[in-house]
């Protein structure tokens, strides 16, 4: 009941006129960002972050998380109406959402998407409410070696569970870590790796990296494909929404299964994109009529959407309780918390309960606000996409570079953003994962500090990472994840060998 009273206190923080207005503004901006190609949730948060430096942290985080929900919703709108995923995590929604829209069931598809997304998000937030306090209390027992082990798990799971080649994940991650170590070393106070360039003294900001990698890189990729929008007009009537809502309980099992998948992928750093694909595949595999999938099956919209949003909100749990973001967007927000002078992690729950519980309460409210706002504004945002890309594209370019400059007011940053844009384009083209790179840039310093402090405790012996049951089991989980691919390979070969042996014998 402890959590419940804290949550009620949180609602009293979040339920003010000022904060609800911020939620609406955030959601609207988020939908815009989600609808426009080249601007996504991580990018939107990065661009808005410099404008929040003067706000108080509670208002700022409410604005940014609302933008995140809005972006997730906006991404699904374009998936369904235009067959163009506005966000990577809404790719799976195009499979059945767009066919539904083409059959004249656009409103039904949109309503299914938004409502199930709302349910998925709610599942994620419920989990956060129930578990975050407990996880944070558990994590209070952590000291440096345990924290390093948790960071290790995070990056091991990118390598073990990620779709890309392990080498490419390691490169992306390593580049992130090394970029984070440029500039001031927080332990010794030395200036490192600046190669005598004064502009590198302040380090390389992860915000510039996000703007370049996700913004400029994505735009270059979009341009190469020669983007054309062929949208389907949709007007959302309240009656149709209610009719669709009445059909939703029929899909309770899909909702439940997708929520569980989403929550799991959100807590582990699989992220929303992986969650939505996995959920779609599971729905198709377990369906009684899988041949309907891809031709406008509602379950093919509900499953990825629920998982996408469940993962998106569940990703906030490890960020708040452990200081480890579960997605690229959560990583950017966590970077924001650190800039505002908050220290994400278990101590945050005792030091700033009003912030934590205000945020959690705002997640409930923000998602409700988001569902209502997104349903009301579908025609508006669909019409934005009818503006030719030769206007939208250059405008987004300008926004990205101005955003890059506002991060720190350094002219050098706009060159850096351009360079990151080229890197992002090449990396995306060749399937290098970008999320681990951002994560490494944000938590690089903390991971390094944890490692160095552990080494100081142990006088330089790595044995500290298996010195007690807690850190040993964490490291074991990490190693298992890291070696998942080789283990699977050996397991499969062993099975084949025994099967062959049995056949012969």
């Amino acid at each position: 009941m402890d959590n419940f009273s804290s949550l009620m206190h949180g609602f009293s923080v979040a339920l003010t006129f000022h904060h609800v207005a911020l939620m609406m503004a955030g959601v609207l901006l988020g939908i815009l960002v989600g609808v426009l190609p080249g601007l996504g949730a991580p990018n939107g948060v990065s661009l808005l972050l410099p404008l929040t430096f003067s706000m108080d942290p509670v208002s700022a985080i409410i604005l940014l998380t609302s933008l995140y929900w809005g972006a997730l919703f906006g991404g699904s709108t374009t998936s369904i109406l235009f067959n163009i995923p506005g966000e990577p995590s809404s790719v799976a929604t195009t499979f059945d959402g767009h066919p539904m829209a083409k059959q004249g069931r656009a409103t039904e598809a949109l309503s299914f998407a938004f409502l199930s997304a709302g349910i998925g998000a709610l599942a994620g937030v419920l989990l956060i409410t129930a578990l975050s306090g407990w996880v944070a209390k558990f994590a209070l027992r952590f000291s440096s070696p345990e924290f390093f082990a948790v960071y290790f798990i995070t990056f091991a799971s990118f390598i073990g569970l990620g779709g890309s080649s392990a080498f490419k994940s390691i490169v992306a991650m390593g580049v992130g870590f090394t970029l984070a170590s440029i500039g001031m070393d927080s332990v010794s106070g030395n200036i490192r790796l600046t190669y005598d360039f004064d502009v590198l003294l302040g380090g390389v900001s992860f915000l510039i990296a996000v703007i370049g990698l996700f913004g400029i890189g994505e735009l270059l990729l979009t341009m190469e494909d020669g983007l054309k929008f062929n949208g389907i007009a949709a007007k959302v009537q309240v009656r149709d929404v209610l009719l669709t809502a009445a059909k939703l309980p029929r899909y309770w099992f899909a909702l439940l299964r997708s929520s569980v998948i989403g929550i799991w992928m959100g807590i582990t750093p699989g992220g929303p994109t992986a969650a939505s694909f996995m959920s779609y595949a599971m729905a198709k595999r377990s369906s009684r009529n899988p041949e309907k999938f891809g031709k406008g099956e509602p379950e093919g919209v509900i499953s990825p959407e629920t998982a996408d949003h469940a993962a998106g909100s569940a990703a906030m749990l490890p960020m708040l309780a452990l200081g480890i973001p579960g997605s690229a967007t959560a990583a950017v927000m966590m970077g924001g918390l650190m800039i505002w002078g908050l220290n994400p992690g278990p101590m945050l729950f005792t030091e700033r309960p009003d912030f934590v519980w205000g945020l959690i309460a705002s997640m409930y409210l923000g998602n409700v606000v988001a569902v209502v706002v997104v349903l009301a504004t579908v025609p508006l945002f669909a019409s934005i996409l009818r503006i030719p890309f030769s206007i939208i594209g250059p405008l987004i370019v300008v926004i990205c570079f101005i955003g890059a400059y506002t991060v720190a007011g350094k002219p050098f940053d706009i060159y850096l953003a351009l360079a990151f844009g080229l890197v992002g384009y090449a990396f995306k083209k060749l399937d290098y994962p970008i999320a681990p790179m951002i994560l490494a840039m944000v938590i690089g310093d903390k991971a390094e500090d944890a490692f160095r402090q552990s080494m100081i405790f142990s006088q330089g012996s790595l044995s500290i990472f298996w010195s007690n049951p807690l850190v040993t089991s964490l490291m074991a989980i990490g190693l298992l994840l890291l070696l998942l691919h080789p283990i699977q390979l050996v397991w499969r070969n062993a099975r084949r060998l025994t099967a062959a042996g049995a056949a012969r014998g």
């Binding site: 390691i170 390593g174 090394t178 300008v398």
Partner: protein
Amino acid sequence: MVTRFWAETAVALFTLAYGLVIVRGATEFGIGWDSSGPEPGAFPFYTGLLVALASLGTLVVTWSKRVSGRDTLSAIILDREGLHRVIAFFLPILGFVLLCATLGMYVATIVYLLFAMRVQGGFGWLASLATAFGSALAFYILLERIFLIQLMKGPLEALLGL
């Protein structure tokens, strides 16, 4: 135009070089152990080394696939038309960035948007001018007036006394 094989090789060589530059830079700060713990260069040294080794890994995988004659790598991932579109989009961006640094961000925004819309997009003068000046004005009001954030300015703003 560009096959996957060469693209993979080029990017892996780039990250390899990057990793080695970091390793080289890290050695200047000591990678061993001093009285207070690991020296400042140690962590970057090993992460840089990891980048270099993983890049080598990608190179080995790419080249061994080539030698064993697997088809997937000879696929073209960037054709002539795509390359043209990327360059046509990228060069104005480069120009925009250079203009930002010399003439300030507002002038750069107006010139860049005018160029992209009038010359590349084929829109009329009126629409192009309205969008370009409208956007610059919107940024000015939002950033300088509401959020009190100064953007880079050039000689023209100084002349106008802004």
